[in-house]
């Protein structure tokens, strides 16, 4: 139990991940679902990025030639999260474009109504 307070960043990340996961699963409004997805992704990247942090070390930009490992944190997780942030922006743009297209056709943002309406219409 104490470990939860030592890794407090990871606890926060897990709580936000679950809230985002539920908003995405539970909500009927499309834009709410997309915001829930963004929360989920941001939480996973916080969970990944705080793996690389080491107490008392600086950001991995070499200052005046000091190249010992004790001076800098682990650069691998921040490299991975940089890739991840751009992935979640691209997916959000795709989802929002789909929402607009659906709104053109069904004039509602509620996914349940959209499913009911799309079943009624014959293509």
């Amino acid at each position: 139990m104490i470990q939860l307070f030592i890794n407090y960043y990871e606890t926060v990340a897990v709580i936000i991940f679950s809230i985002g996961f539920t908003t995405m699963l539970l909500n009927r409004n499309l834009i709410k679902k997309i915001i829930g997805f963004n929360f989920m992704d941001c939480a996973i990247y916080l969970f990944l990025a705080c793996k690389g942090y080491v107490e008392g070390r600086k950001a991995p930009i070499i200052i005046d030639g000091v190249q010992s490992m004790e001076a800098y944190i682990n650069p691998v997780p921040s490299g991975l999260v940089l890739t991840g942030i751009v992935v979640s922006v691209s997916v959000t743009a795709f989802l929002l474009a789909l929402t607009i297209r659906l709104y053109y056709r069904y004039h509602t943002l509620d996914i349940e109504e959209i499913i009911v309406l799309s079943k009624k219409e014959e293509d």
Binding site: F17, F21, M24, L25, L30, K33, F37, M40, D41, I44, F47, L48, K51, V76, P77, L80, T83, G84, V87, S90, V91, F94, L95, L98, T99, R101, L102, R105, Y106, I111, I114, I115, L117, S118, E121, D123
Partner: protein, 497 residues
């Protein structure tokens, strides 16, 4: 380092840049360029397969100047090259099969963008097959997700396709979210992203028993994430909508190849990263085994109730995915070999069925309801024959491809002496019966008392006939002379470690 060893890397780069080039060309030039890219990738992977079979062991290709744990790396073995040539070949054939549908469904200013999506999808499939690094796997899983959702959404004029895309995309994003959390926890407890190094530290962790609970949660997250993405039983609700409403070539690419890419990544993670003994200990294989059994039964039952040919084929894909998960669920090497064999068989048969269904839609005024395609098999003879061959192979009649993988699934199940064997054999028998229960009525509808009045028929293009001939030939080849392929798969699995 002879030249052939560079082909896997060059094929990934060619397909990636092919996507970019297609976005600039006109519709018809993009089609020619896409054909060129896919044929060169097919020839390249066949040559690499010959090379790897001759040397008898897999080699590692270093991407960049820095060796493995620092830089990226792809690993090329027999199984990988078989899958790569299968994926590029089938993608080429399904594109040829549904070509005039593509140009009908998309605007003429946007049809070249369809070929961008197809070549980027084949790039991500190749990268998923070859990669030896988990995070590279995640990046290309994302490309795969967006490309396959865009393939379904290309028919955005029909509202059903849009709704199916939204549901498919949300479920797929849940899957890749769980997959990424699995990678993070694994990176945290082992410190590596490369598959070999993770395997070593995981086996050490397993012996000493440290981080036992996180390790089992990682196994659960990987299997759940990739099961959601490959439409395994409880998470298959998005599949009938997505595959039922996409264009002909999109649905054959999606059900034939995209689902298999994720399953192959799951096999790689289970077999090479975590190791089968730990998976066995975690009893993850039992869970997948039960999912497979349920998928086989309930997928077929749902397919029987369908009134729409394409949705019926989509539900039968859910059942066939259940066969593959049954193979993985057995947990033995023979089980995984049977699963790989069924991946090959299903990749050959299902796109043929979807292309034939495209042919039936052409001759019956574009509708896919059973009531409208009454007797379409007689109006379009070649699609009818292709549908018969596909249905026979799905049911598992000897001399057709499906029979081979069913035989190996049963031998793998028999080898395994416990309750699992009984359940596996019962499931195989029942689902073969259920397959017959929906393919034979479909064939009856297609080949009896055709409608008399002249329905607007679309002259079948040469490309489609060629692709159907090749599909039928492949099916018979796999059905009758399957021994070399089976030996290659078994040798690949042995070399896979």
């Amino acid at each position: 380092m002879n030249l052939v060893q560079n082909f896997p890397f060059l094929s990934i780069i060619l397909t990636l840049s092919g996507g970019v080039v297609c976005s600039v060309l006109k519709g018809s030039n993009a089609r020619k360029y896409c054909y060129f890219v896919l044929t060169s990738v097919l020839v390249g992977s066949l040559l690499t397969m010959a090379y790897v079979l001759s040397t008898g062991e897999s080699y590692v290709y270093m991407m960049g100047h820095f060796p493995a744990p620092w830089g990226n790396e792809i690993r090329v073995g027999v199984l990988e090259t078989i899958m790569a040539s299968l994926f590029s070949g089938i993608m080429l054939l399904s594109l040829m099969g549904g070509m005039h549908h593509i140009f009908e469904d998309t605007e003429d200013t946007k049809s070249n963008l369809y070929f961008t999506l197809v070549s980027l999808l084949s790039a991500s499939l190749l990268a998923l097959v070859y990669t030896n690094d988990l995070f590279t796997g995640y990046v290309f899983v994302e490309i795969n997700t967006i490309a396959s959702c865009a393939l379904v959404m290309i028919r955005y004029r029909s509202g059903k396709a849009l709704v199916a895309t939204v549901r498919y995309l949300f479920m797929s994003l849940l899957g890749s979210g769980l997959f990424l959390i699995g990678i993070t926890i694994l990176y945290d407890i082992t410190g590596h992203l490369l598959m070999e190094n993770i395997a070593q530290s995981v086996s050490v962790l397993f012996q000493t028993g440290t981080y036992a609970f996180p390790l089992s949660v990682v196994v659960v997250l990987f299997s759940m994430g990739l099961a959601i993405k490959s439409a395994c039983f409880p998470f298959h609700t998005w599949l009938p909508g997505a595959h039922g409403n996409a264009t002909v070539s999109s649905s054959s690419i999606l059900s034939g190849l995209v689902l298999k890419g994720y399953i192959f990544l799951l096999i790689k993670i289970f077999y090479r990263v975590i190791g089968m003994n730990i998976i066995f200990h975690e009893r993850a294989t039992n869970v997948l085994f039960i999912f497979g059994v349920f998928a086989m039964i309930i997928g077929s039952i749902k397919a029987i109730q369908e009134k729409d040919l394409k949705r019926m084929l989509a539900y039968s894909s859910v059942a066939q995915i259940g066969y593959i998960f049954l193979g993985i669920g057995l947990g033995t090497e023979a089980g995984i070999a049977a699963a790989c064999l069924h991946i090959i068989v299903h990749a050959i048969t299902k796109p043929m069925l979807f292309t034939a269904c495209g042919g039936f839609m052409d001759v019956s005024g574009g509708s896919k309801k059973f009531s409208d395609i009454q007797g379409a098999g007689l109006r379009d003879k070649l699609s009818g024959i292709a549908f018969i061959v596909g249905a026979m192979s799905m049911i598992g009649i000897p001399f057709f491809a499906g029979f081979i993988s069913k035989v190996y699934l049963t031998t793998a199940a028999i080898e395994y002496s416990s309750i699992k064997t009984v359940v596996a054999l019962a499931a195989l028998a029942i689902s073969t019966l259920l397959n017959a229960c929906y393919y034979i009525p479909a064939m009856l509808v297609l080949f009896t008392h055709p409608k008399t009045e002249k329905v607007h028929t679309h002259p079948r293009s040469k490309e489609m006939s060629l692709s159907l001939y090749i599909f039928i030939g492949l099916n018979f080849l796999m059905g009758c002379f399957s021994q070399p392929i089976v030996n290659a798969v078994i040798q690949g699995i042995a070399m896979f470690r």
